[in-house]
Symmetry: C2
Subunit: 79 residues, 2 copies
């Protein structure tokens, strides 16, 4: 099964990459884009028996390796 | 409205970051993780009238700035 992990900076953490992307989009004429947050995206192909097990393994991987829990939060989708 | 843009390397493009993450997970004991692909994730806050318009603006932003169409593909979700 495939787990998708989205890692983003916590809302209270300044995101200079996102701000730079937003400024670049404004320079290109996209004034409708009010805010941009940039994060990381992982697709994990996991060989496990159940959706719950896949979710548990993906959450462990995110806690230990994919995200820095001090400044980042993550969200998991299993399909 | 919020558009979420997922940018990943095309399947035919080698993904050394993903391979490194997969190897690190194996070293941590997660043999069930068979494959990892890493990508970028953007949350765009877009001020537009309709969901279609938000999707159109996000696709233009992805084509022009967020993704490199030669080696990357992207997917958009609007909520």
């Amino acid at each position: 099964m495939r787990a998708r992990v989205f890692v983003t900076l916590k809302p209270s953490v300044f995101d200079p990459q996102g701000t730079t992307v937003a400024e670049a989009l404004h320079a290109l004429g996209y004034a409708a884009v009010k805010d941009v947050r940039q994060g990381k995206y992982f697709e994990l192909e996991i060989d496990a028996g159940s959706e719950d097990e896949v979710r548990r393994l993906a959450a462990e991987a995110a806690d230990k390796l994919l995200a820095n829990p001090v400044i980042e939060s993550y969200r998991i989708e299993v399909s």
